[in-house]
């Protein structure tokens, strides 16, 4: 049990990569606090883990709100006594034609994806420093930190920001023994991506995605979770400020694999 005496917060823990990560930590012995803005999703996720015999709590949170971010950390400490690992997974995607995108949409994406990571990391790190915890923070970045999308400008900018925040906050906390790293997933098979990409119907969007995916398939949420656990644990003890891309080979690929439109 790699996280037997640890308490782990996973934001956006109600579905997708978040719930996959929460489950893995629980299976490795951790006490897990699911932070989620959608109360029903969050409570259901917590109930499922609890029914499986794990120590888990749900706390509703809007990570872009400083008081709510702080409250999530406070409640985690009250319930389980510490916060050892923070996984900044909460994030949103908005897809719009650039010329038609309104600035409120842009602001909303940055508020959750960037401001949320700042606020949650600051709240958790303040607790870790005060408690003398040599903790670990793992951010969910994206290949879009480097690879642009014409219709997701805000999202791509937010993830480029997460990449840099991982570096700078990693440096800010290094002498406290707190490590900050990130996982940059490629396209992950979740409910959202399945419907958007026509995963089951072999849609043309899916074909284009796979033409840019050397390993020939989407990632499973569990594969992202495995990388998060690696970075959170002692095996990554000499890593900080680093983003690991779990993308099936996408970022290194120059052109495309053969595909039919």
């Amino acid at each position: 049990m790699r996280f037997g005496d640890k308490t782990v917060i996973v934001t956006g823990g109600g579905r997708g990569i978040g719930i996959g990560t929460a489950k893995k930590f629980a299976e490795e012995g951790a006490s897990v606090v699911i932070g989620e803005i959608d109360a029903e999703l969050g409570q259901n996720a917590a109930d499922d883990l609890s029914d499986a015999g794990h120590r888990v709590a749900f706390v509703q949170v809007d990570v872009g709100d400083p008081n709510q971010a702080k409250n999530l950390v406070t409640e985690a400490v009250e319930k389980f006594g510490s916060v050892d690992v923070l996984v900044n997974n909460a994030g949103i995607i908005r897809t719009d034609d650039f010329l038609e995108t309104d600035i409120e949409t842009f602001d909303q994406v940055l508020r959750v994806n960037l401001r949320g990571v700042f606020l949650m990391t600051q709240a958790a790190a303040r607790h870790m420093v005060a408690a003398g915890t040599k903790g670990s923070v793992v951010n969910i970045c994206s290949i879009t930190a480097f690879a642009g999308m014409p219709d997701q400008v805000g999202y791509c900018v937010s993830k480029a920001g997460v990449f840099q925040m991982t570096r700078s906050i990693g440096l800010a906390l290094a002498d406290k023994g707190i490590r900050v790293n990130a996982v940059g997933p490629g396209t992950v098979r979740t409910e959202l991506s399945e419907s958007a990409l026509g995963y089951d119907s072999g849609g043309s969007v899916m074909k284009r995605v796979l033409a840019r995916t050397p390993l020939g398939r989407l990632a499973e949420p569990e594969e992202i979770a495995n990388a998060v656990l690696f970075l959170a644990g002692d095996d990554a003890g000499y890593l900080t400020g680093h983003t690991i891309f779990v993308d099936g080979g996408r970022l290194i690929q120059n052109i495309v694999l053969p595909f039919d439109e």
């Binding site: 002498d175 050397p214 499973e220 400020g241 680093h242």
Partner: protein
């Protein structure tokens, strides 16, 4: 046991990072075949791993000799029945030399071992994996100098940038065979290779000022990333390099060095 039943090949396995990874692989349930030009170190390492209850074999391997490389891979397959993991670790750093005075022979020697050697071992191993239908994992040894540079190590820097490119090209070439290829990019690690840096107090301080986590790594600091890349936990990763560098790549300027640890 995260590598239960896996069969791993480690070049440069006689000491340093290679040996530390061999110990960790065995602890995680793998059997290992060590290759090295250092015969005493290699044999001793294999004996100690065996005495500790592991399955380990040593086979001489000079990565500059294609005949020895092919023999090494073939003998490893004979010993274990196949190869699931290659940790392509053999390499040298060479003495720092002023760029203007660097000889072509010295440049070629380092490229010959670090790049051509890695290519030979990886190709021979990958041919075996493809032939046997093994969805293996290959881990090349880059360096933080796959991304950064030192002025007096043009050949070494070129060789480690070369490893990064080799890793990417191999990853794409072998993806359709289910073989993943990644690399590690260690920062300054306490090994024989780094001795030249660590005996000089001024140099030691300068190195530490570039390590946010505040200490020079031990070979054991590299084993975690190697095990992760070797195992199925990294099943969606290919063509990537993981940098156990104490945070150096993230750092713009320098960090204050509070005290010099006892050497």
């Amino acid at each position: 046991m995260r590598l239960e039943g896996k069969r791993a090949l480690i070049t440069g396995g006689g000491r340093g990072i290679g040996l530390a990874c061999a110990q960790r692989f065995v602890a995680e349930g793998a059997s290992v075949v060590l290759g090295d030009i250092l015969l005493d170190e290699g044999r001793t390492a294999a004996e100690e791993l065996t005495q500790a209850g592991g399955k380990a074999t040593f086979i001489e391997c000079d990565v500059t000799d294609v005949g020895q490389v092919n023999n090494f891979v073939a003998a490893a397959v004979d010993a274990c029945g196949g190869i699931d993991i290659l940790f392509n670790n053999a390499g040298i750093i060479g003495p720092g030399t002023d760029f203007l005075g660097t000889s072509e022979d010295e440049f070629r020697r380092i490229m010959e071992i670090n790049v051509f050697g890695a290519f030979r071992v990886a190709q021979a191993t990958a041919r075996h994996m493809v032939d046997q239908g093994i969805s293996g994992s290959i881990i090349n040894t880059g360096s933080m100098l796959s991304a950064l540079a030192n002025p007096d190590q043009a050949a070494y820097v070129s060789s480690k940038h070369g490893i990064h490119g080799l890793t990417k090209a191999m990853a794409l070439a072998l993806a359709k065979h289910g073989i993943r290829v990644n690399a590690i990019g260690p920062g300054t690690i306490k090994t024989a290779v780094a001795e030249a840096v660590l005996v000089n107090e001024t140099a030691y301080r300068r190195v530490l000022s570039r390590i946010p986590l505040g200490y020079i790594g031990e070979p054991e600091d590299v084993t975690g990333p190697v095990v992760f890349l070797a195992s199925d936990e990294s099943s969606y990763m290919t063509g990537q390099i993981i940098y156990p560098d104490g945070g150096r790549l993230a750092l713009n300027h320098v960090m204050p060095v509070k005290e010099l640890p006892a050497a």
